[in-house]
Amino acid sequence: MRSQVAKRPMDILLVDDNPGDARLTSEALKDGQVESRLHIARDGAEALDFLRRKGGFGSAPRPDLILLDLNMPGMNGRQVLAEIKEDAALKQIPVVILTGSREMDDIVRTYDLQANCYVTKPIDFEQFIEMVRSITDFWLTTVQLPMEEN
């Protein structure tokens, strides 16, 4: 069993087709309190490959947290979320929906699909940075998560 005391960097998987947002997220994490490694998947299929260590992701770590965008070309965020939550090996990983949408319909549907929380990307830059930090602080330091047996 891994000890939480020995601080290893946390692995975060960001699934977002917008490289601008991916970079902003990594900038926000740089100066954050949590030491983390950000992995980026550009679409839903790539995200699932990463999580299942398929197709070039053979040595991918199991992420501690998934940040998932909803609107992506091809397999969208809802489909990725549904796959994760139906997969016994993945469903315990917390999934934070991080999207531009504030439509109630999107919010309800993703919670129905067992999203762990839903966050609308703030329009303001400072708030965006703040949001990324508070999410990672909360999910990676405040809450207790089940530990993976190695």
């Binding site: 947002d21 531009g100 329009i123």
Partner: protein
């Protein structure tokens, strides 16, 4: 039944004196043939008596029509409805007219309105009909219907358009804004002073555009994302608006009072928005003295009109219409911040509630904004 006796009085009866007969038939001739209403008697389905106006409407000479089946002049698709209407009217006595199409001798289609009544003609049951040509009115109505439908369609399209652009432009703009801010944060003071200035203008422009887009989005949401109407207590609405304005009220030392306010049919969230905008404006556009705002309401027929009166800087009457247009501002951003969208949103909300917005003002003394909602009205699109 009344019709029958009146008609028969105009027809010579045996007991009349010769002079009387002559007078009566003269009167009949004038009333019947000079009438601007097409008039006729139909018996066993065929014309027995027609006046000139009827012949004129149908495009025939009067004598050509006698003995012809009346329904033959009705457009084939309308015949069944005309027959049913006639039967219904004859049973119920005279009532409202009904409209249908006829074909003239010249093969023109005309819209007419007809009323019929049961009469006796030569001691046998007959139908007395009156008919007027309503083709022109129908055409105007059709055109109006078309225009209204077109306007509704283009309105919906425009709203959808405004929604989509303001929504979809926000994503790329967020990138511009975020990365110019990141540049400013990381490189300010590290490049030369020109660079700092250029970056600050880029940051400021992007930020302003974000606010414009958000306001435009809010404006387009009035129609596309409104809630169904319910009964709303307007005192609660004003209290909610005041709670949202708490900081502005405290900072300006404003006193806001409100009368007993009615319950209306509307969208509560949008009504809060209107009062918040109007009271907020009253506080924002204040003179040196602390703002005093009074909210009152009056009712006339089904319209409830709210008045928001202030002692602020006022508005020149030449602007009393244009201030309700989108992005309309009367001051520079340095004097009074804002996008100029607030009153346009208020007006749109008033219109959705079947009402209007207006302002009466004395520059330097204060303004009173009036905002009405229709209690009887459902939502108007």
């Amino acid at each position: 039944m009344k019709q029958r006796s009146r008609t028969s009085e105009l027809i010579a009866r045996p007991e009349m004196m010769a002079g009387e007969v002559k007078q009566t038939s003269e009167l009949f001739r004038i009333l019947f043939h000079r009438s601007p209403i097409g008039t006729y008697i139909v018996q066993n389905g065929v014309f027995r008596l027609v006046n000139r106006q009827l012949a004129y409407i149908l495009g025939y000479d009067d004598d050509e029509l006698i003995g012809k089946p009346a329904l033959g002049f009705v457009l084939a698709e309308d015949r069944e409805a005309v027959r049913e209407n006639a039967i219904r009217m004859l049973k119920a006595g005279c009532s409202l007219g009904y409209e249908f199409r006829i074909i003239t001798k010249q093969a023109r289609v005309k819209w007419v309105m007809e009323t019929v009544a049961p009469v006796y003609h030569q001691r046998k049951r007959a139908t007395l009909g009156s008919l007027i040509d309503v083709t022109e009115r129908k055409q105007v109505e059709e055109r109006l219907k078309q225009i209204t439908a077109e306007m509704q369609r283009s309105n919906t399209e425009l709203e959808q358009f405004a929604y989509v652009i303001s929504h979809d432009l926000q994503e790329p703009l967020r990138m511009v804004s975020s990365y110019t801010q990141l540049l400013a944060k990381r490189y300010s003071g590290k490049l030369d002073s020109d660079a700092d200035e250029f970056i600050s203008y880029a940051v400021d422009g992007a930020r302003r555009m974000q606010i414009l887009l958000q306001d435009l989005l809010e404006y387009s949401r009035v129609g596309t994302r409104g809630k169904p109407f319910a009964l709303v207590n307007c005192e609660h609405v004003v209290q909610q608006a005041l709670a949202n304005l708490k900081i502005a009220i405290e900072e300006s030392g404003a006193s806001v009072s409100y009368d007993v306010l009615p319950t209306v049919l509307g969208d509560e969230g949008q009504l809060v928005q209107v009062f918040q905008n109007l009271i907020g404006n009253a506080i924002k556009f204040r003179r040196d003295e602390p703002p005093r705002v009074r909210v009152s309401a009056g009712r006339r027929n089904s319209m409830v009109t709210f008045s928001i009166e202030d002692n602020g800087i006022g508005i020149n009457s030449q602007h009393s219409q244009s201030i309700f247009e989108i992005f309309r501002r009367l001051h520079t951003r340095d004097e009074y911040p804002g996008t100029g969208m607030g009153l346009a949103i208020c007006k749109k909300i008033a219109e959705r509630h079947g009402g209007t917005m207006s302002v009466v003002s004395q520059p330097g003394k204060g303004s009173t904004f009036h905002f009405s909602v229709d209690m009887a009205g459902g939502e108007s699109s």
